[in-house]
Symmetry: C2
Subunit: 335 residues, 2 copies
DNA sequence: CTGAAAGCGCTAACAG
DNA sequence: CTGTTAGCGCTTTCAG
């Protein structure tokens, strides 16, 4: 039989479809005998419940969507992998959406997700299309975004991490430190951490903004151009490890001695980058823990009858900020 | 209204549900007037067709599943991103499955995918659970797997790429070249390319197998241990860029001069790794082109009435092998 | 403990 | 050009 249905099973087992459904969902009282008959029939037909028909009836899809700029970025790749693993363990499927940081793409995805009635969404995308969506009924958790009163936002202590990075550079003797960031903004906590520490030390801050959607080659060039034109710069704090790596490569080409003459710190500390550049000093985010928490919060909301209240429960928002660890590497001098 | 249905739209527009459905699908003859009324009603209700109900009826989900070991691996991360982009452009959604190379996980996923009636599957996972699945009715395309007569297998010219890498090392004067691979096997084309070239040059081949599912730290240790114990080795050909990076890092720690005293070539050539290690010599796969082809082949099969015949069409199998390019970098000496 | 019947939201004959 | 009817595969009252 090509696509056996519950009715086919019922026919073979000699019971009603209702009974088969009960066996499937383990609901109500069933005699052992009946169960056995039904199981036997299912085996015989290699029956698989049709998830679509189920969803139509239940109003639950057991699907969660992930919206990230691109999983080719190490941080998002790692995060997506952990999230998928945790969700899969809890019986949820994951739909992947790479927004590429195009608000328009993100909007299309939201439409799609609403159509598909996904139970939940986890987003790390940068356009705020979703969080501000008026009629979103899915549970929603954001990753490393601005705090909202309506949705949990899982993030690391960006401000503290940036302070650690900047302080480490200053302690190691750097005086002309440039911070490379994707997008400047007053609410950018890594930038704020950097600025505050620089100011407290009476050092002149310098920020290089390289844009988010740009190609990596363009970003690399923006960074090397800047460094070429600012020979007094003696240290770089990148808002992610890739920017730090660009700076490091520039130093190598220039035959600058690292860390003696030029120091570098990144941010994120993914396994992938640590494998490739074990010496890079960086601020490590506990990505796996963050993924775990995001899934916890999302599942709780999805399985509650009042998801929006669960999500907006202020009492635990403070738990959603994770501490960072500074990993010294050898691209920063010892103080 | 919380979740407007097609009937609600019909009621407001003063037409039958069928008519609304026709407008939605742009089928049959509709008067302009009717169309306008229906569109107006849809807008008024912010109506979104329920994709689930649609799928139940159509027997098409417009969903494709991606099964890869993990998108945290640069090659799969890049591949997944490109695939998702292309598929999304063609109106397909993507479900992400990270098998972690556990055959058991892969099997679970297959069950799930069958339940969800995905239209197609693209897999680069290593267990052969899917390709050998007897009753798979979805279209299937594999990435860099062994050739089958039943499904397209998109891959690069692994054999030729490995030959280029090995030859480049030999031409540059290397004599004790070790090949680092995940899993040894007779059908491993990168390994075969390496072996053939070594043999033709009367050089003794050495293969280090580091396993697939192992943690990156364990792989790194296996590699450094091997290199520590075999000081005569003067070059490494890694079956991926990460293995090559491990060797490179080892050389740096040992203060070996690269490429003078120690040479390294990797495989894959993803943008992500090129950003971080621009000097690494490697065999570049045309990942974006491969993704494009995979999607083409899959879509063709999904939209055909005889998907299995389309997939097994031998005449174009040869087109599914993509040429590689050797990128010299500076970790190999000039001949 | 089990079954009959209705319906989730949509589409596809078949009429008109 | 438009409406009526049935049904995709499952779950869920409501009866027995």
């Amino acid at each position: 039989m090509v696509n056996p249905t519950l009715e086919d099973v019922a026919a073979i087992a000699g019971v009603s479809p209702t009974t088969v459904s009960r066996v499937l969902n383990n609901r109500g009282y069933l005699s052992e005998k009946t169960k056995q008959k039904v199981f036997a029939a299912m085996q015989e037909l290699d029956y698989r419940p049709n998830a679509i028909a189920r969803s139509l009836q239940n109003k639950k899809t057991k699907i969660v969507a992930l919206i990230f700029p691109t999983v080719a970025h190490p941080f998002y790749g790692a995060m997506a992998t952990y999230l998928e693993e945790r969700l899969s363990d809890r019986g949820y499927r994951v739909i992947l959406c790479n927004s590429q940081d195009h608000p328009e793409r993100e909007r299309d995805y939201i439409d799609m997700l609403l159509s598909h009635h996904v139970d939940g969404v986890i987003t790390g995308a940068h356009s705020d299309a979703i969080a501000n969506y008026p009629t979103l009924r899915s549970a929603l958790v954001t990753i490393d975004r601005e705090q909202s009163q309506r949705y949990p936002n899982i993030r690391c202590d960006n401000y503290g991490g940036a302070r650690k990075a900047t302080s480490a550079l200053i302690d190691a003797g750097a005086r002309h430190i440039v911070h490379i960031t994707s997008t400047q903004s007053d609410t950018n906590q890594r930038q704020r951490g950097y600025l505050d520490v620089m100011q407290k030390n009476n050092l002149e801050p310098r920020i290089l903004e390289v844009g988010f959607a740009a190609e990596s080659a363009a970003k690399n060039r923006a960074i090397t151009d800047y460094l070429d034109q600012h020979p007094e710069v003696d240290a770089v704090f990148g808002s992610n490890d890739t920017y730090a790596a660009y700076a490091l490569n520039w130093a190598q080409v220039q035959e600058k001695k690292v860390p003696q003459d030029f120091q570098v710190v990144g941010f994120d500390g993914t396994q992938a980058i640590h494998s490739l550049l074990p010496h890079l000093a960086t601020v490590v985010q506990p990505i796996e823990d963050m993924a775990e928490r995001a899934v916890e919060r999302l599942v709780e909301a999805m399985e509650s009858s009042t998801p929006h209240e669960v999500m907006a429960d202020e009492s635990r928002l403070e738990n959603d900020v994770f501490p960072t660890v500074f990993r010294p590497g050898t691209t920063v001098r010892l103080p």
